[in-house]
Amino acid sequence: MRYIQLTNPETRGLAPTALGGRHGELGLDDQLDWLFGTALSGFAGVARGGQFPVDLYQDKDNTYVRAELPGVTPDAINVELVNGSLSIQASRKVKSVAGEEEASFSRLVNLPDDVQADKVSAAYENGVLTVTLPVKEEAKPKKISISVN
Protein backbone atom coordinates (compact mmCIF):
# COMPACT_ATOMS: atom_id res chain seq x y z
CA MET A 1 0.00 0.00 0.00
CA ARG A 2 1.25 3.45 -0.86
CA TYR A 3 0.38 6.72 0.74
CA ILE A 4 0.71 9.92 -1.18
CA GLN A 5 0.54 13.04 0.85
CA LEU A 6 -0.74 16.31 -0.44
CA THR A 7 0.99 19.44 0.69
CA ASN A 8 -1.06 21.10 3.38
CA PRO A 9 -2.91 23.89 1.62
CA GLU A 10 -2.55 26.13 4.68
CA THR A 11 1.18 26.34 4.24
CA ARG A 12 0.77 27.82 0.78
CA GLY A 13 -0.80 31.10 1.68
CA LEU A 14 -4.27 32.15 0.75
CA ALA A 15 -3.81 34.54 -2.15
CA PRO A 16 -4.34 32.80 -5.47
CA THR A 17 -1.58 33.14 -8.04
CA ALA A 18 -2.00 34.85 -11.36
CA LEU A 19 -3.04 31.54 -12.92
CA GLY A 20 -5.63 30.76 -10.32
CA GLY A 21 -3.69 27.77 -9.05
CA ARG A 22 -1.49 27.47 -6.01
CA HIS A 23 1.34 25.49 -7.47
CA GLY A 24 3.18 28.61 -8.42
CA GLU A 25 3.97 29.09 -4.74
CA LEU A 26 5.63 25.70 -4.31
CA GLY A 27 9.32 25.07 -4.61
CA LEU A 28 10.74 23.39 -7.70
CA ASP A 29 11.07 20.03 -5.90
CA ASP A 30 7.43 20.11 -4.86
CA GLN A 31 6.40 21.05 -8.36
CA LEU A 32 8.34 18.16 -9.86
CA ASP A 33 6.90 15.74 -7.31
CA TRP A 34 3.45 16.99 -8.08
CA LEU A 35 4.00 16.88 -11.82
CA PHE A 36 5.38 13.35 -11.87
CA GLY A 37 3.02 12.06 -9.23
CA THR A 38 0.10 13.21 -11.32
CA ALA A 39 1.60 12.04 -14.58
CA LEU A 40 2.32 8.55 -13.26
CA SER A 41 -1.05 8.17 -11.63
CA GLY A 42 -2.57 8.52 -15.07
CA PHE A 43 -1.20 5.19 -16.25
CA ALA A 44 -1.91 2.53 -13.70
CA GLY A 45 -3.94 4.48 -11.16
CA VAL A 46 -7.58 4.05 -11.97
CA ALA A 47 -7.38 0.86 -13.98
CA ARG A 48 -5.01 -1.30 -11.94
CA GLY A 49 -4.89 0.11 -8.44
CA GLY A 50 -2.73 2.59 -6.58
CA GLN A 51 -3.38 6.30 -6.68
CA PHE A 52 -6.41 8.23 -7.82
CA PRO A 53 -6.85 11.94 -8.49
CA VAL A 54 -8.05 14.15 -5.65
CA ASP A 55 -9.34 17.74 -5.66
CA LEU A 56 -9.54 20.00 -2.65
CA TYR A 57 -12.02 22.87 -2.37
CA GLN A 58 -12.81 25.21 0.48
CA ASP A 59 -15.49 27.78 1.09
CA LYS A 60 -16.30 29.60 4.33
CA ASP A 61 -18.33 26.72 5.79
CA ASN A 62 -16.75 23.54 4.48
CA THR A 63 -13.70 21.89 3.07
CA TYR A 64 -14.51 19.46 0.26
CA VAL A 65 -12.34 16.56 -0.84
CA ARG A 66 -13.39 15.15 -4.19
CA ALA A 67 -11.89 11.86 -5.37
CA GLU A 68 -12.44 10.13 -8.71
CA LEU A 69 -13.09 6.46 -8.01
CA PRO A 70 -15.05 5.08 -10.96
CA GLY A 71 -16.46 1.57 -10.74
CA VAL A 72 -16.12 1.20 -6.98
CA THR A 73 -19.16 0.17 -4.96
CA PRO A 74 -19.84 2.46 -1.97
CA ASP A 75 -19.42 -0.53 0.39
CA ALA A 76 -15.82 -0.89 -0.72
CA ILE A 77 -14.88 2.70 0.20
CA ASN A 78 -13.36 3.48 3.57
CA VAL A 79 -13.02 7.08 4.71
CA GLU A 80 -11.23 7.81 7.98
CA LEU A 81 -9.90 10.85 9.77
CA VAL A 82 -6.52 10.08 11.28
CA ASN A 83 -4.56 12.78 13.11
CA GLY A 84 -5.93 15.59 11.02
CA SER A 85 -5.47 13.74 7.74
CA LEU A 86 -8.16 12.14 5.66
CA SER A 87 -7.49 8.57 4.65
CA ILE A 88 -9.43 7.23 1.66
CA GLN A 89 -9.20 3.54 0.83
CA ALA A 90 -11.15 1.72 -1.83
CA SER A 91 -11.05 -1.53 -3.71
CA ARG A 92 -12.51 -2.75 -6.95
CA LYS A 93 -12.75 -6.12 -8.62
CA VAL A 94 -10.97 -6.05 -11.95
CA LYS A 95 -11.60 -8.65 -14.60
CA SER A 96 -8.52 -9.58 -16.54
CA VAL A 97 -7.28 -12.40 -18.70
CA ALA A 98 -5.96 -14.15 -15.61
CA GLY A 99 -9.37 -14.04 -13.94
CA GLU A 100 -10.82 -11.66 -11.39
CA GLU A 101 -8.42 -9.78 -9.19
CA GLU A 102 -8.90 -7.09 -6.62
CA ALA A 103 -7.34 -3.69 -7.12
CA SER A 104 -6.99 -1.48 -4.08
CA PHE A 105 -6.44 2.25 -3.92
CA SER A 106 -5.49 4.45 -1.04
CA ARG A 107 -4.62 8.02 -0.46
CA LEU A 108 -3.87 10.21 2.52
CA VAL A 109 -4.87 13.87 2.25
CA ASN A 110 -3.62 16.48 4.70
CA LEU A 111 -6.39 18.72 5.95
CA PRO A 112 -6.50 22.22 7.39
CA ASP A 113 -6.52 22.30 11.21
CA ASP A 114 -9.94 23.89 11.54
CA VAL A 115 -11.96 20.83 10.48
CA GLN A 116 -14.77 19.64 12.73
CA ALA A 117 -13.94 15.96 12.88
CA ASP A 118 -17.26 14.73 14.25
CA LYS A 119 -19.38 16.23 11.47
CA VAL A 120 -17.70 14.77 8.41
CA SER A 121 -19.99 13.40 5.74
CA ALA A 122 -19.30 11.53 2.52
CA ALA A 123 -21.31 10.90 -0.64
CA TYR A 124 -20.59 8.75 -3.68
CA GLU A 125 -22.20 9.55 -6.99
CA ASN A 126 -21.29 8.76 -10.61
CA GLY A 127 -17.96 7.33 -9.58
CA VAL A 128 -16.94 10.42 -7.60
CA LEU A 129 -16.53 10.47 -3.83
CA THR A 130 -17.14 13.82 -2.16
CA VAL A 131 -16.19 14.20 1.51
CA THR A 132 -17.57 17.32 3.18
CA LEU A 133 -15.69 18.53 6.26
CA PRO A 134 -17.29 21.46 8.11
CA VAL A 135 -15.07 24.24 9.41
CA LYS A 136 -15.07 24.71 13.19
CA GLU A 137 -17.31 27.52 14.40
CA GLU A 138 -14.46 29.38 16.10
CA ALA A 139 -12.40 29.30 12.92
CA LYS A 140 -15.08 31.04 10.87
CA PRO A 141 -14.58 34.75 10.33
CA LYS A 142 -16.85 36.72 12.64
CA LYS A 143 -18.17 40.13 11.99
CA ILE A 144 -18.00 42.37 15.02
CA SER A 145 -20.22 45.36 14.86
CA ILE A 146 -18.91 48.52 16.44
CA SER A 147 -21.39 50.89 17.84
CA VAL A 148 -20.58 54.52 17.59
CA ASN A 149 -21.87 56.77 20.29
Binding site: R12, L19, G127
Partner: protein
Protein backbone atom coordinates in the same frame (compact mmCIF):
# COMPACT_ATOMS: atom_id res chain seq x y z
CA UNK B 1 4.48 32.59 -12.30
CA UNK B 2 6.89 29.76 -12.80
CA UNK B 3 7.57 27.84 -15.96
CA UNK B 4 6.17 24.58 -14.66
CA UNK B 5 2.91 26.01 -13.41
CA UNK B 6 2.43 27.77 -16.71
CA UNK B 7 2.84 24.40 -18.43
CA UNK B 8 0.46 22.60 -16.11
CA UNK B 9 -2.35 25.08 -15.72
CA UNK B 10 -4.53 25.35 -18.78
CA UNK B 11 -5.59 28.71 -20.14
CA UNK B 12 -9.28 29.57 -20.45
CA UNK B 13 -9.34 28.43 -24.08
CA UNK B 14 -7.72 25.09 -23.30
CA UNK B 15 -10.35 24.25 -20.69
CA UNK B 16 -12.90 23.70 -23.44
CA UNK B 17 -10.80 21.04 -25.09
CA UNK B 18 -12.25 17.58 -24.52
CA UNK B 19 -10.33 14.96 -22.62
CA UNK B 20 -10.01 11.40 -23.88
CA UNK B 21 -11.19 9.06 -21.14
CA UNK B 22 -9.37 5.91 -20.14
CA UNK B 23 -10.88 2.88 -21.84
CA UNK B 24 -10.44 -0.83 -22.45
CA UNK B 25 -11.59 -3.02 -25.32
CA UNK B 26 -12.15 -6.74 -25.07
CA UNK B 27 -12.97 -8.97 -27.99
CA UNK B 28 -14.92 -12.20 -27.93
CA UNK B 29 -16.16 -14.32 -30.84
CA UNK B 30 -19.50 -12.53 -30.90
CA UNK B 31 -18.92 -9.01 -29.65
CA UNK B 32 -16.57 -6.25 -28.60
CA UNK B 33 -16.79 -5.16 -25.01
CA UNK B 34 -15.87 -1.55 -24.40
CA UNK B 35 -15.27 -0.17 -20.90
CA UNK B 36 -14.94 3.62 -20.59
CA UNK B 37 -14.05 5.31 -17.30
CA UNK B 38 -16.16 8.48 -16.97
CA UNK B 39 -16.02 9.61 -13.34
CA UNK B 40 -18.43 12.47 -12.67
CA UNK B 41 -20.67 11.80 -15.66
CA UNK B 42 -24.38 11.18 -15.03
CA UNK B 43 -26.71 9.45 -17.46
CA UNK B 44 -28.12 12.79 -18.61
CA UNK B 45 -24.67 14.07 -19.56
CA UNK B 46 -23.80 11.08 -21.71
CA UNK B 47 -24.19 10.93 -25.48
CA UNK B 48 -23.32 7.91 -27.60
CA UNK B 49 -23.59 8.06 -31.37
CA UNK B 50 -22.44 5.92 -34.25
CA UNK B 51 -22.04 7.43 -37.68
CA UNK B 52 -19.92 6.66 -40.74
CA UNK B 53 -17.96 3.94 -39.03
CA UNK B 54 -17.13 6.07 -36.00
CA UNK B 55 -18.43 5.45 -32.53
CA UNK B 56 -18.52 8.64 -30.46
CA UNK B 57 -18.83 8.69 -26.69
CA UNK B 58 -19.28 12.16 -25.17
CA UNK B 59 -19.63 12.75 -21.46
CA UNK B 60 -20.24 16.01 -19.65
CA UNK B 61 -19.18 16.12 -16.02
CA UNK B 62 -21.67 17.25 -13.44
CA UNK B 63 -20.34 19.50 -10.70
CA UNK B 64 -19.74 17.63 -7.46
CA UNK B 65 -19.14 20.50 -5.07
CA UNK B 66 -20.82 23.90 -4.72
CA UNK B 67 -19.57 25.98 -7.61
CA UNK B 68 -18.73 28.93 -5.42
CA UNK B 69 -16.15 26.95 -3.43
CA UNK B 70 -12.66 27.94 -4.59
CA UNK B 71 -10.25 25.11 -5.36
CA UNK B 72 -7.15 24.72 -3.19
CA UNK B 73 -5.70 21.84 -5.14
CA UNK B 74 -6.79 20.28 -8.42
CA UNK B 75 -5.74 17.05 -10.04
CA UNK B 76 -8.74 16.60 -12.30
CA UNK B 77 -10.06 18.80 -15.06
CA UNK B 78 -13.51 20.15 -15.86
CA UNK B 79 -13.18 19.27 -19.54
CA UNK B 80 -15.80 17.00 -21.08
CA UNK B 81 -14.81 13.50 -22.06
CA UNK B 82 -14.76 12.56 -25.70
CA UNK B 83 -13.80 9.22 -27.20
CA UNK B 84 -13.92 8.47 -30.91
CA UNK B 85 -13.34 4.91 -32.07
CA UNK B 86 -13.47 4.02 -35.72
CA UNK B 87 -14.57 0.61 -36.91
CA UNK B 88 -14.92 -1.04 -40.31
CA UNK B 89 -18.71 -1.48 -40.09
CA UNK B 90 -18.44 -5.19 -39.32
CA UNK B 91 -20.36 -4.51 -36.13
CA UNK B 92 -24.10 -4.55 -35.63
CA UNK B 93 -24.61 -0.96 -34.50
CA UNK B 94 -28.35 -1.46 -34.08
CA UNK B 95 -27.74 -3.90 -31.24
CA UNK B 96 -25.29 -1.92 -29.13
CA UNK B 97 -26.12 -2.21 -25.44
CA UNK B 98 -24.86 0.51 -23.07
CA UNK B 99 -24.82 0.59 -19.28
CA UNK B 100 -23.52 3.41 -17.08
CA UNK B 101 -22.85 2.65 -13.44
CA UNK B 102 -20.69 4.44 -10.87
CA UNK B 103 -18.90 6.44 -13.54
CA UNK B 104 -18.07 3.42 -15.69
CA UNK B 105 -19.70 2.94 -19.09
CA UNK B 106 -19.89 -0.57 -20.46
CA UNK B 107 -20.78 -0.98 -24.12
CA UNK B 108 -21.43 -4.29 -25.78
CA UNK B 109 -21.01 -3.99 -29.53
CA UNK B 110 -22.12 -7.19 -31.31
CA UNK B 111 -20.20 -8.24 -34.38
CA UNK B 112 -22.03 -8.49 -37.69
CA UNK B 113 -22.81 -12.05 -38.79
CA UNK B 114 -20.21 -11.81 -41.56
CA UNK B 115 -17.46 -10.98 -39.06
CA UNK B 116 -18.09 -13.88 -36.70
CA UNK B 117 -15.77 -16.84 -36.93
CA UNK B 118 -17.30 -19.67 -38.90
CA UNK B 119 -16.53 -23.30 -38.72
CA UNK B 120 -16.49 -24.85 -42.13
CA UNK B 121 -17.65 -28.40 -42.26
CA UNK B 122 -15.65 -30.70 -44.45
CA UNK B 123 -17.78 -32.92 -46.56
Amino acid sequence: MSLISSLIHPTEAEKHVAQRPRYDIEETDNAFGLTVFLPGVAKAGLEITDEDGELHVKGKRSAGVPEAAPALHRETSDASYELVLSHDNTVDTGKIVAELKDGVLRLSVPKAESAKPRKIAIS
